[in-house]
Amino acid sequence: MKQEVEIILSEIFGNSLNTRESVQTLMRKISEETSSLCEKFVILNFEYIDFMSRSFADELHKEITDKDFDINITFHKMEGDLLSMLKMVEKTQKQRSNITKKPKFVTITDAKTLSDYAFSW
């Protein structure tokens, strides 16, 4: 019989998942909860999670796709934005796109020009 552990993320982190360090906290929790199981199945419950930062998503993705990570993870109640964020970081593991416009470089040598320029924004 499959043994599943459910981890309700909002009970640990509140409404938002913010930092890479939070992922490490989560990994420790997963390790504790599955230490006595033979086959390891974990449900990550995202109910009441409003926001997941890119840093958290990126670090989570790295951890669960690591070749030595032997736990089956299922995401439950993951809203659209959160799932999109996870898919987005999946893409960034392999490729980058050139996203920025070329800036215009300016040099200012006098205080009046600097003042007028700033005031014009």
Binding site: T19, D81, T92, Q93, A111, L114, A118
Partner: protein
């Protein structure tokens, strides 16, 4: 005998007015020098702004702590509204997360949950386990505070930008702390957020990464590298924060962005992306200073996920 420098009485709505006053103040302080005591007279202030208030305090702190200046500020405001507001945001002493239990930090931020601003507060930038936990809680409560003070279409976009910029400050600053001050302007339709530090400049950060891996030699080059997503954290997947946040804010939301580090700054809006090198003595930021103006309303097509790459 002390020199008195009178600070600006009223800061207008245009995005760059606070920066104009900051540059002017830097020039004036620089002209006096470190050998003479300086009193900054702020008593006549009739309207203050986060984009001037936070940099003012950080400028004084850096000058006094690191450059041998003796600068004091007269904050006995004649205007009662200004006096009350400035006291509320903890000017000039700031709130701090230092050496406080988590519950107290949570309680401090919770006490502002019905206000229209985030007060002057610093956050830790170390990466030891305890500091990471403190900062994580701080960001969680900050997001909760933001949700209470700002009603806007894409609140997650705001969370994303603040989170990314705090992460960047934490990584780049290297020393001291990070600082934040924010004010929502419901009738004007935007929220202004100022985040900064007086630690390392972007140039120092890049030059100390893998023996200056990118070969960056000027503050303008460092600014360009940060805006282009060149990471100092290693890995193809790192380094997105500033580049995606500016694109999201300015192209996606029609907001405004200003970043100042060393002798360079950038001003970005939907149509312009300028990097300016300042060749004026003493106009220099020791660390990184970021100011963002975030409109409450975005176009119906805007989805912040599209900008997160």
């Amino acid at each position: 005998m002390a020199v008195i420098i009178k600070l600006v009485e009223r800061i207008g709505d245009n995005f760059g007015h606070p920066m104009k006053e900051l540059f002017k103040l830097m020039t004036e302080i620089g002209a006096v020098g470190a050998d003479t005591e300086i009193n900054l007279d702020y008593s006549g202030a009739k309207f203050t702004h986060p984009f001037f208030t936070l940099p003012l305090l950080l400028l004084i702190r850096n000058k006094n702590q690191n450059e041998g200046f003796s600068i004091k500020i007269d904050n006995q405001f004649f205007n009662h509204s200004v006096a009350s507001y400035m006291e509320s945001i903890s000017f000039p002493n700031m709130l701090t997360c230092d050496n406080k239990p988590l519950e107290e930090i949570e309680s401090i931020l919770e006490s502002y949950s019905q206000k229209t601003y985030i007060p002057l507060i610093n956050f830790p930038i170390g990466d030891d386990p305890h500091t990471n936990v403190v900062r994580d809680k701080f960001i969680s409560h900050l997001n909760r505070l933001i949700r209470n003070i700002v009603e806007m279409d894409q609140i997650n976009a705001l969370y994303y930008m603040i989170d990314e910029l705090i992460s960047n400050i934490v990584h780049h600053a290297g020393r001291d702390k990070g600082y934040i001050l924010a004010q929502n302007f419901p009738t004007k339709g935007y929220v202004d957020i100022c985040i900064g530090d007086i630690g390392r400049t972007l140039l120092e950060s890049y030059q100390q990464f893998e023996n200056n891996r990118y070969g960056i030699t000027t503050h303008s080059e460092a600014m360009h590298a940060a805006l282009s997503g060149k990471s100092t954290k290693g890995g193809i997947d790192r380094g997105y924060g500033i580049s995606t946040s500016t694109k999201m804010l300015c192209e996606g939301m029609n907001g405004r962005f200003f970043m100042f580090s060393g002798n360079s700054f950038t001003y970005i809006n939907a149509h312009e992306r300028d990097i300016t090198e300042i060749k004026i003595p003493k106009v220099y930021w020791e660390g990184v200073l970021i100011c963002m103006r975030i409109p409450h309303k975005t176009g119906t097509e805007f989805n912040y996920i599209d900008y997160t790459e």
